[in-house]
């Protein structure tokens, strides 16, 4: 089967593969605008449908900066020896999710441990407008 590749020779992942890989790692990075700067922070996340959910610390500047604003979320996994790996990018607007709605969602998914943790509060959801992924295959030698 031939793979669909982009101009850099990277395999273009299908939506299904991209979401599956996104879900396979616990940490991703959110890129957002803060004042006149762009910044990026790692966050623990999980995937629900085509949304990405993550928690923010109480009072974190992140909440104010991202709500109802466009953000980018990236997750990846690399093998430095093989110089190969994948990355997935989700772009969309962020929104705050209420605590009750989140607890219900987490319990429905068997993720109570997330809901029980007390020292991080506040949930943000990114509703994906766009999910894209690329895979760099090990080079044939």
């Amino acid at each position: 089967m031939s793979l669909v590749t982009d101009r850099n020779g990277l395999e273009i992942l299908t939506l299904g593969d991209a979401l599956r890989l996104l879900e396979s790692v616990a940490v991703g990075r959110i890129g957002f605008v803060e004042g006149d700067r762009v910044t990026i922070l790692p966050v623990n996340h999980f995937v629900h449908g085509t949304s990405v959910l993550f928690r923010t610390a109480a009072g974190a500047k992140l909440d104010a900066a991202v709500v109802r604003r466009p953000v980018a979320f990236e997750a990846d996994h690399w093998d430095a020896d093989l110089r190969s790996g994948w990355s997935v990018l989700v772009r969309g607007d962020a929104e705050v999710v209420g605590e009750e709605a989140m607890v219900a969602l987490l319990e429905a998914r068997g993720l109570e441990s997330w809901a029980r943790s007390r020292h991080r509060r506040g949930w943000v959801r990114i509703r994906a407008d766009e999910v894209t992924g690329r895979r760099l295959h090990p080079r044939r030698t």
């Binding site: 101009r7 850099n8 990075r29 762009v38 980018a72 990236e74 772009r91 760099l136």
Partner: protein
Amino acid sequence: MDVRTDRQGLGVLERTACEQLLDRAPLGRLAFLVDGRPMVLPVNHVRRGLLLGFRCAPGSKLDAARETGPVAFEVDAFDADERTAWSVVATGVARLATPIERAHLEQVPHLSWADAVARDHWVVVPIARLTGRWLGQPPADVIDLTATPPPEGTP
């Protein structure tokens, strides 16, 4: 000596540790704006002093980053089982490398993993701000952890 923490309780990495971790990572993620919306791409990088360099193809998304101004570059590592993590973020404004900068950067051994396309441009980011945080355990083997005592139980 006390561990330096920020107001969220994360360990603070000193500048030298941030530089070391930047240099050790084979790639990181660059956040920048495209039509006013954030974009994040993984990319191989090189650091020389206060200059970060990225090789890219003319006309690529990365090449466009220099048109739009502010960027943030991040490297990290995490262990979900051990609940440890660190990240280092460098921010600045992207632009095209000068010939002298380009010559400097090309002296640093580096690899572009995705090399199916010629990468004739160097986009550079003079580092305006460099910060690092850790959670659980500080990253192993960084020289300058003067703000951090060794973990309990180590000889």
